[in-house]
Symmetry: C2
């Protein structure tokens, strides 16, 4: 019989960090004791033991204390922060969930254990299917879906289209390029280290890739990698790279904007001004921002297609796996220092 | 019987003006003598007497000596410059055209008379239809069509949508707002004089309008005129106004970009940098540049709709009419000093 209390560590927001690097002054870890006694769990709730946490760039934008342009609300001071998680039900006061169920919670407290309303659990996972659990946070989760929406719904890829993907060795980027390749496109990616340039070509099958940190003239770089111009730019970074791209787009190019990570830790008035938007007129460009939450009616189509690619061995995934809740601050930082490869997750225990 | 020669004045490009105001150092007028003798006109050509010339902002972008982002080629030095015109055929070496035909030439030499390949004449106009000839350069020409493409094709207007139009008293702007009103939208326009603010409301039926030159804080201005945010921004000006709008757009707003006149007389690296593009992601904005030339397959739909509005008295037009070819330099300048009202044309003779 299980114990009736558990000790759980959780991260909470101690102070906002409008700009720059997030430290242990801003995010702090504390221990709480949760009672598992039946009468201490409200009806319609479940107690979850966290197995994996997804570490995502947008979380940083909820820690600035400002409205930032991504429109996720700020975390409240002194409250536990959230992330999407995969966990195991260890107690349940909802007949739809039983002990041992594996569940996905898109806004789970970042904690070893938590008591949550069961309606916040959006998905029950069949853990006998052979799919590794972290895949539900990566290829079959938000990053894969974001790549699919950007490339397949908004990008209108055709065989031979010239596709550029920034942050191409990251969670979303690795899938964006692979999906475009599967549509017959020529795909080039950018990233922040030589090691990742190699991975983009060797593991993700991009036609080419470059390390933008070593390039002194992005204009010349794009001219070299795109002698025939760019038809689709899958934007993960914004700022300087977007400006450079706008000088190399072809007529009627599409720019699905998935994110602008280079702009997340700045007040908007300090952000990079993009000066050549006039090209949007002359080249008749369609630039469109999207959030996966607005495309949930297409999730089924996506999952079907992605699952079949995975079965056929046509999509590969890389992970940077951190261990234990203590690693959250470091793992989040890795997204902003180009040190992660592929999808960043924390494995608990 | 007509004389066999005519004296014709024409404007030619003497020197490029990368920035600032265009003067008689850049554009010069010269006289040439054209022979009308039958054997001096090549087969498949016609001699045209100019009746009206359309004066358009994009012409300025062909006089900078730089590639500018609108991608119309630069006028060649010492060569006559062009504009769209309505003219009368006075000699013809093509059986499809006869003396007296009224024709539209989208890239006519700006000259009293000219000899042109008849295939450059895209449209024969029925001058007995009762439609005033300048309307073919305005409501039923490029400005009306640009307004229609931006509002009806790209804008997706719905009853009650909040629509903002910049340069709203200009040729395109006056129609953009009226078309949006006809779709049941709430429409506000901006312009550069109090006189035009009144015209926008009284003649074009906008719900409201303001003089942006008197506003010191565009952010506060837009908050005041759009308490419920902006659903469609029909952009004619770019730059600062676009940046201000991006702080007031609603979720899933559309921004058809027709032009960016505030940016036409600058090197791209000197243009206004727009700093808050991150809102495109958070608000899931679709921003799309367009040139009417890419929508010619829809011209018939447009013309049918516009003609019926005109017949029903639902669309009104204003003109600023200059007289004589000598006025070209001044008339072009008026587009950049906020002095024109409605469509600018030059009436010859
Ligand atoms: N729209 C949506 O619904 C949605 C969903 C998920 C993610 N996103 C967005 O998609 C983008 C990628 O997210 P992800 O989860 O896949 O993260 P990720 O790419 O795995 O990690 C972020 C990467 O961004 C790059 N980066 C960091 N700072 C940068 C800077 N200043 N300039 C250029 N690159 C920088 C780094 O890679 P390098 O080595 O290449 O520098 C880093 O590895 C982010 O913008 C994120 O916000 C959007
Ligand atoms: N995409 C296409 O196919 C297409 C076709 C036709 C025209 N266009 C574009 O549509 C726009 C309007 O053209 P139009 O022919 O209708 O000209 P217009 O609006 O009749 O004349 C230009 C107007 O722009 C405004 N303006 C000038 N400089 C400005 C500045 N620095 N900042 C803000 N506003 C300024 C002035 O009005 P205010 O009094 O309001 O300042 C001026 O009256 C232009 O950008 C043009 O290039 C595009």
């Amino acid at each position: 019989m299980a114990t009736t209390v558990v000790e759980s560590k959780e991260w909470y927001m101690a102070a906002y960090a409008p700009e720059g690097v997030l430290t242990s002054d801003h995010l702090k870890l504390r221990s709480v004791t949760l009672s598992l006694a039946g009468d201490s769990i409200p009806d319609g709730h479940a107690v979850i033991e966290t197995l994996f946490i997804s570490v995502d760039p947008y979380q940083r934008t909820r820690m600035t204390g400002m409205q930032d342009g991504l429109y996720f609300s700020q975390f409240n001071l002194d409250e536990v922060i959230t992330a999407s998680s995969i966990g195991r039900v260890i107690r349940s006061k909802d007949n739809n969930y039983k002990e041992g169920d594996i569940v996905l919670n898109p806004f789970s407290p970042i904690a070893d254990y938590c008591v949550v309303p069961s309606k916040s659990l959006i998905r029950k996972i069949d853990s006998t299917s052979g799919v590794p659990l972290p895949d539900y946070l990566s290829s079959l989760g938000v990053p894969g879906f974001a790549a699919w929406v950007g490339i397949e719904v908004l990008g209108e890829p055709k065989a031979g289209s010239n596709v550029f993907v920034s942050a191409a060795a990251g969670a979303v980027g690795m899938y964006a390029g692979q999906l475009a390749k599967l549509k017959g496109c020529r795909v080039v990616g950018s990233t922040g280290s030589d090691e990742k340039v190699k991975i983009i070509k060797d593991d993700f099958g991009y036609d080419d890739a470059f390390n933008y940190k070593k390039e002194t003239d992005l204009d010349a770089t794009l001219r070299k990698y795109f002698p025939d111009g760019i038809d689709i730019y899958f934007d993960n970074v914004g700022g300087e790279m977007l400006e450079a791209v706008l000088n190399h787009v072809n007529k009627h190019a599409r720019i699905p904007i998935c994110g602008m990570i280079s702009q997340y830790k700045k007040k908007w008035t300090d952000r990079d001004g993009v000066r050549n938007l006039l090209n949007i007129v002359g080249k008749e460009i369609r630039m469109e921002g999207f959030l996966v939450g607005s495309y949930l009616d297409r999730f089924g189509d996506f999952a079907k297609e992605m699952e079949s690619y995975i079965k056929e061995g046509k999509i590969s995934s890389k992970y940077t796996i951190y261990h234990g809740i203590e690693s959250y601050l470091e793992s989040l930082g890795s997204l902003f220092t180009s040190t992660n490869i592929g999808k960043v997750v924390i494995e608990f225990k």
